[in-house]
Amino acid sequence: MKAATLESQANANAPTHGRAATEVAHSTRTLRDEPRTGIVRKVEAASSDTERAPAQKKEKRAFASGIVRRVEPAAASETLDRAKSRAWRCLEWAAVPEKAPRSEPPAPSVSVAQITTHGALIRQSGPDETLPETAGFMHRVSTLVAQGLGFRRCRALCLRGPESALSVAQAGASKVVGVSGPLRDMTNVLRRMDLE
């Protein structure tokens, strides 16, 4: 509406010849057409002329920036407001990646068992269910091995296999800790026992 008024005023007083006529014609064209600057603006849909114009005609006025394109309003599923708004949106607006479902933390591969020196279970974790009994037996027998070789007690023992390792260590005066698991998770234990 505003553009049409300005155009009619300009035409009424417009010179018909020379440089002034060229400038007036250029300014009139500028008011009528969208500039091809590549800058994206939101175009309001308030004009009744615009609403009456067919959809194909609207499409011809699309900017040539190549960055942002208008969402097609022709889909039946879209609401009327969205179809009228002529808003400019990124084409991927609906393709927002959904959050990945929260997965359970991986099951622990290292088993830990704490027992008293008398074999009573204090705490246990991990997949190795027989670790408390194994640790208790190993602690008793390794103490006998130590005494048979002239020592008082066995502070710790660490056994390494091709894929897994097992460690039993005395922690304090009355607690024994057994740890077992795959080699990659037992690196610290093996290093502490000079096996790595």
Binding site: L131, V145, L149, G150, G161, L195
Partner: protein
């Protein structure tokens, strides 16, 4: 004879007190230990070591090598074809050197003992 000579190689590592070889069933095969270790006691100790190792195998860890830490001393265990090589040493031993030497000796031990 060859085995005794192989075990003597281990004593070249500083801190090694002695060594012995046990079968998988716990029998003492050969020993190169100081005189204070009586043979009967050593056989009992060998059977106990074998029980610890078999317990580990039953728990899912077939032992290739291991260490018993006694505080003032250590016992290194290394698997070989017929059983386990056990090396008794004091706490200050260079474990890296000992492990390397024990591996070489264990490889050199004959299968028929």
């Amino acid at each position: 004879m060859i085995t005794a000579r192989m075990l003597r190689i281990l004593e070249d590592v500083s801190g090694v007190l002695g060594s012995f070889v046990i079968g998988r069933e716990g029998g003492l095969i050969v020993a190169s230990m100081p005189e204070r270790f009586v043979a009967d006691d050593l056989e009992l100790t060998a059977s106990r070591i074998a029980r610890v190792l078999s317990c580990s195998a039953a728990n899912g860890t077939e032992v290739h090598d291991g260490v018993f830490d006694f505080g003032e001393g250590k016992l290194l265990v290394r698997e070989f074809v017929r059983g386990y090589l056990c090396v008794l040493c004091d706490a200050a031993v260079n474990m890296r050197s000992l492990r390397l030497t024990a591996r070489l000796v264990a490889r050199g031990l004959p299968a028929e003992l």
